[in-house]
């Protein structure tokens, strides 16, 4: 589906953490937290992350484990949270719900077909963060003085918007769609053990000799989160068709292809619901003791599970850089 196809098209290089240029990363909070929720809960002792009252707070462990890598490499994360439905207009709520239902249908199909990778991907798209996870994540980030931006709708689109405006250097998400939303540089695998991947929009367009519009059209033909692809159109065929006929409409005119609501789908990528009304402070001075108390005393995560992470955060943030004096 869409994501795997985009991977074939995108210009992606693996870059060691040490070699990433310093900067601010707008992290798609939902996507990032979800990686930790799935791995932390799935592969380790669940009871460690569950309070006596039954709340799962693996997100707190994820945050403490995941933040040091940023700080140790002069990257400042800004977490972009998905907007709540209350902030959406009524028709948008309906639209989002419909999208979600479509996704859930596809998830059902994928399960029936036994496509494990697809299930995991769609599962991520449909998984909502519980209220407890939402609330405790924000509270812990706030104690650690890590900036948060609230997106009007999709966090990923908002993060891409901030990067396109030059307010942040990178978007942090696993989702290849960031490319379609116009994120100049996207960092992937920020939650993995290995090296991050750097996905570059300009390089992608240059390598494919496409405009961003054309890239989105290729993606729509292959299928995106917002539309089913056209049967028989994988990345190679779609690329050839768009190159030959200029754009999606040219392809629909000359080839036996119908993409329903093509202009609407395209608009979701070019005019997503985002805001330019945000502010964040990238000088981070965490209250690590308060954060420790919050995680271990208030939410019952054993202190030893998070002690190393907190130490690394403290260490990374107390070391100054020589560039502070130039």
């Amino acid at each position: 589906m869409g994501n795997a196809d985009l991977r074939d098209l995108a210009t992606i290089e693996e870059v060691p953490w040490d070699e990433l240029d310093p900067g601010v990363v707008a992290v798609d909070a939902h996507n990032w937290l979800y990686r930790y929720l799935t791995t932390t809960v799935r592969f380790t002792n669940e009871s460690v992350y569950t309070t006596a009252a039954g709340d799962e707070v693996a997100n707190l462990v994820g945050i403490v484990q995941g933040l040091p890598k940023f700080f140790e490499h002069d990257l400042t994360p800004v977490f972009v949270f998905d907007g709540g439905p209350s902030e959406l207009k009524a028709d948008e709520i309906a639209e989002r719900r419909e999208q979600r239902e479509q996704l859930e249908d596809r998830l059902e199909d994928a399960r029936e077909e036994g496509d494990a990778a697809e299930v995991a991907r769609l599962d991520s798209a449909t998984q909502r963060l519980t209220d407890v996870i939402q609330e405790t994540s924000r509270e812990l980030l706030s104690l650690l003085d890590v900036p948060v931006v609230e997106a009007p709708a999709e966090g990923e689109a908002q993060a891409a918007h901030m990067a396109a405006r030059g307010d942040v250097e990178y978007v942090g998400t696993e989702d290849y769609d960031a490319l379609l939303f116009g994120a100049p540089v996207t960092l992937r695998q920020l939650t993995s053990k290995g090296n991050p991947e750097r996905m570059d929009l300009d390089a992608t367009l240059r390598d494919l000799d496409l405009t961003r519009e054309q890239l989105v059209d290729v993606a729509i033909l292959c299928g995106t989160d917002f539309n089913d692809g056209v049967r028989g159109y994988g990345p190679k065929t779609a690329l050839k068709a768009v190159r030959e006929h200029g754009d999606l409409w040219g392809v629909m005119e000359h080839e036996d292809v119908v993409v329903e609501n093509a202009d609407l789908v395209r608009e979701l990528f070019f005019d997503p619901d985002v805001t330019s009304d945000y502010a964040f402070d990238t000088t981070i001075s965490p209250d690590v003791d308060a954060a420790r108390a919050y995680v271990s005393d208030e939410w019952e995560v054993p202190a030893e599970e998070v002690s190393r992470g907190f130490e690394r955060i403290e260490d990374a943030l107390t070391q100054t850089g020589l560039d502070d004096w130039t």
Binding site: E72, H73, Q319, T320, L322, W325
Partner: protein, 247 residues
């Protein structure tokens, strides 16, 4: 054009002072000598090194720039005995460095300088206190501090005219104080900054025990340490950014 003959000792000392901070560096092949400036990826420790043409047995260069993998070059230099001479010659066409040590020929593929981290700007530091100590005193202090902690405080007490080192561990503490008599020189002014021992240990490895090290310090400022190499025909400056002191 670059063609030079240098003693293995001088070459090793030069490379060591840089390789404690970075794996790769750019080397400026100036008419009057070599120049290297590099900073570690976290921007915490910097080295600024110059080695005069006089430090070489023979030296010819016209302002070129090469990029080298330091551990490779150190390995090759390690093939030579202390007193042996190493001959270096740059092949402009192939961008390779031909190295000869007593019949042993080694061709080293150079790194594109553009692919190496940009050379840092030198921080603008106005450091009030200055002490001159022997390399072995720094070595002793770092060794003692490392037994108890990950950090070390370096300071000068302006009124008592002492240079001191503090390391506080969870259980044990280390304190070392050197007064005017113990020091080669002292310009006293109050100064105190905390540093990561990881970095200081690495820098210490590159400081010759018998070197006279000038250490400039401020209040929560980077420390600047400089000393001569190659019998005064080369000079190394290390700069290390401080840690923020809690409480």
């Amino acid at each position: 054009m670059f063609k030079a003959i240098v003693s293995a000792d001088t070459l090793k000392t030069t490379l060591d002072s840089v390789s404690v901070l970075v794996d790769e560096c750019k080397i400026h092949l100036e008419e009057d000598g070599l120049e290297i400036r590099a900073v570690d990826p976290a921007n915490v420790g910097m080295v600024d090194l110059s080695l005069s043409a006089d430090a070489f047995e023979s030296y010819e260069a016209d302002g070129g720039l090469i990029g080298v993998n330091l551990s490779r070059l150190e390995d090759i230099a390690g093939m030579a005995d202390a007193g042996q001479l190493v001959s270096l010659e740059l092949d402009e066409e192939t961008r390779k460095l031909h190295i000869q040590i007593d019949g042993l020929e080694y061709t080293l593929t150079l790194i594109d300088p553009d692919s190496i981290r940009q050379e840092p700007d030198i921080p603008d530091l106005d450091l009030a206190a200055e002490v001159v100590v022997e390399g072995k005193d720094i070595n002793r202090a770092v060794k003692a501090a490392d037994m108890v902690s990950d950090h070390i405080a370096l300071g000068v007490d302006g009124s008592n005219e002492t240079f001191y080192i503090d390391a506080e561990g969870d259980a044990d503490d280390v304190h070392l104080e050197l007064d005017r008599d113990d020091l080669i020189d002292l310009s006293a002014a109050d100064a105190h900054s905390l540093f990561s021992l990881d970095y200081l240990k690495d820098m210490d490895k590159a400081i010759p025990k018998d070197a006279e090290v000038t250490m400039e310090l401020g209040e929560e400022f980077p420390v600047k340490m400089h000393f001569d190499i190659a019998e005064g025909m080369g000079h190394v400056t290390f700069m290390l950014a401080p840690r923020i002191q809690s409480n």
